[in-house]
Symmetry: C2
Subunit: 208 residues, 2 copies
């Protein structure tokens, strides 16, 4: 099947499956089922089996999935069985928290540079990296073959930064503030409100 014919919503669930499988691996579990994954993720087992069936046969009826094998297959499908270089734009509270997050390497990513426009911040150390001037962006992207960026600047600066990134060849952006992009650039937003709003449906409001 042509990779672009698989619905994007299916692709977006694969990293959730992969994360659940990584946790099962850590817990020493060898075999799992679509039922177990489904319960952990709040996704129906039918949906999980249907999603995986786009890519082949990963388990046998009745015996379930080999946790490590399925994880490895998902890493291959998502192309994270390699390391992608990333740049992080913004070295404020959020940027520093992201720079120190230790899940990137394992997920297939390496932050190669943190850039900011604030002269007060440039030159300071954050984790293993020294904050660089945003003016160095073109050089950094070329030198490290970077296609992916994370935007962690204030909301009113985000669109300008995004435009600059795309102009310099970035193909995928993870942004903590809302931005719009041409259709040929991938974009994912991280918004805590979206996570919170998917839980309030289930709560019983109390009288304050």
């Amino acid at each position: 099947m042509n990779p672009l014919e698989i619905p994007e919503i299916v692709i977006r669930r694969l990293p959730l499956y992969l994360r659940a499988l990584n946790l099962l691996t850590e817990q020493g579990q060898v075999v799992t089922s679509s039922q177990e994954l489904g319960e952990r993720l709040g996704i129906s087992s039918t949906q999980i089996r249907k999603d995986l069936s786009y890519f082949g046969e990963f388990g046998k009826q009745g015996t379930g999935y080999d946790v490590r094998y399925l994880a490895e297959q998902l890493r291959q499908i998502l192309q994270v069985n390699r390391t992608w270089n990333l740049v992080l734009i913004g070295a404020g509270d959020l940027g520093r928290a992201i720079a120190r997050y230790n899940g990137f390497e394992r997920g297939g990513f390496s932050i190669v540079a943190v850039l900011d426009r604030d002269k007060q911040k440039i030159g300071n150390q954050v984790g293993q990296l020294r904050i660089q001037d945003i003016a160095q962006l073109p050089d950094v992207l070329r030198q490290h073959h970077v296609q992916i960026a994370i935007i962690a600047v204030p909301p009113d600066e985000a669109q300008g930064v995004a435009n600059l990134l795309v102009k310099n060849g970035i193909r995928a952006i993870l942004s903590y503030a809302h931005i719009t992009m041409p259709a040929d650039v991938r974009i994912q937003h991280i918004d805590p409100v979206v996570g919170l709003q998917s839980m309030t449906y289930y709560l019983v409001p109390t009288q304050p």
Copy 2:
């Protein structure tokens, strides 16, 4: 339909629809379609219509959806046409960035307290709030009728904090580190790797 019979995966998409509708409202758009929402969100128009049909008829064939009306209906369904009090645990880089995020009020949430166990941080100001001692958690939760918490502590402290929250009556947790919870507590994780991994599928790896 019994609210619990609607698949959770459908509920989780509603906040995405709501966010897209809020942006359309800001841009002054009055009417939209499942096609337009779908293109903005990378979700098929069929899926969007199917999701919304669980809750009623929100648009007419051929004339599309009234942006403000549909947004208001979604806010009602998600119970965010009111304000939920939140507590934020962790006042490090990430916690401070979250405390300063200005999208909560509009989304239906109000951070009523930021708590930390670090004596160096307690008493400091972050945004409008003074950082409180985690020991005050039970009082704070009772006083403000809080059911929802955000966890922004280091990964190795997250599970302990989560257990404490649940023991004190918290029903829903948004966590930036992995935690597990009893089935009757709602949990959502925020993980930048999941967002990044849903984009790499579409990229063409370059030779580093």
